[in-house]
Amino acid sequence: MKRETIAALQAARAARRAVAFATRLDDGAAFILPDPAAGAALNAQATAALRADRSGTHEIEGASWFIEARNPAPRLILVGAVHIAQALAPLAAMTGFAVTLVDPRRAFGNEDRFPGITLNNDWPDAAMLALAPDTRTAVVTLTHDPKLDDPALDEALRSDAFYIGALGSRKTHAARLARLAALGHTPAALARIRGPVGLDIGAVSAPEIALSVIAEIVAVQRGGGLAVRGA
């Protein structure tokens, strides 16, 4: 592999551009796809690999090619630059999520408390509209404050986010669901919100709660056995 190839792959990743990286296993010849120079068959296999988000080896026109699907990192939008976010943001980044932390309260959402984390100090509804959660985005609200959490959840429910979680006790969550229902969300839509957020591992400390949240997000993302909550 050439160093310039790695640089090109890093540039695609930084720009959140989906590319497939193909290596001919006989001699190491490589393409970053899509690339018209690579031929139709290889480009078609690259498209399929990206759609399935799966890397593997394929026989194409008499040669073995390893095709690596390099989709952009899944995103995690955190609303609330609170103590738990200080554990959750770095853990999520380590797990491979591109983390954006939303909090209009600059006393909480600042570089000093969250070094290296992408911050958005807009009001949550405006931030969510701008961030436009898609099928590769998880959203977790952490503020406990309805005037911050509710607008974020309202927008999250209107999006294709694959995971929506809200921190708060069962009682807090019931009250939250009633407020969101009053905004016109159906029971089926509201059932998308996981509250209390995270797997029930008896978490107490902020890092433990962060672990339970990331574990549940990964379970949903990967279709693990703990993705479906028990009755």
């Binding site: 930084a14 290596t23 001699d27 190491g28 890397s55 593997g56 080896t57 690596e68 699907a69 380590m94």
Partner: protein, 111 residues
């Protein structure tokens, strides 16, 4: 340690490029197919240097030593290689995967 996405611990290519930029001679190993209970999926990578640095993994730890050797050999010859490891009782004296999985790899120099 706080990591941002640019230092994603799965992003072994970034580590390899940084090592090469610092003057190290680097070889790469990539899992191209895995079966059974092999713990690392296709696309998993390991980077090794002539000076003895290792980042990433291509199995649960059982074949990394042999793969690193093959990767460094490809660095010396300049020729990529395809490798395959599995485990059966007959080859128990060879390096293999205790988990019973099977894995194919591609090793190549970083140039």
């Amino acid at each position: 340690m706080l990591m941002n996405n640019a230092e994603d611990m799965e992003d072994i290519l970034a580590v390899a490029a940084a090592w090469a930029a610092a003057g190290e001679q680097v070889a790469l190993a990539t899992v191209t197919e895995s079966w059974g209970s092999s713990p690392r999926p296709a696309g998993s990578r390991m980077a090794v240097t002539v000076s003895g640095r290792i980042a990433g993994s291509v199995s649960g730890g059982c074949i990394e030593g042999a793969v690193a050797e093959a990767a460094l050999r490809s660095l010396a010859t300049g020729v990529p290689e395809r490798l395959e490891y599995g485990v059966t009782n007959e080859m128990a004296w060879e390096v293999g995967l205790a988990c019973g999985g099977r894995v194919k790899l591609f090793v190549e120099p970083l140039i």
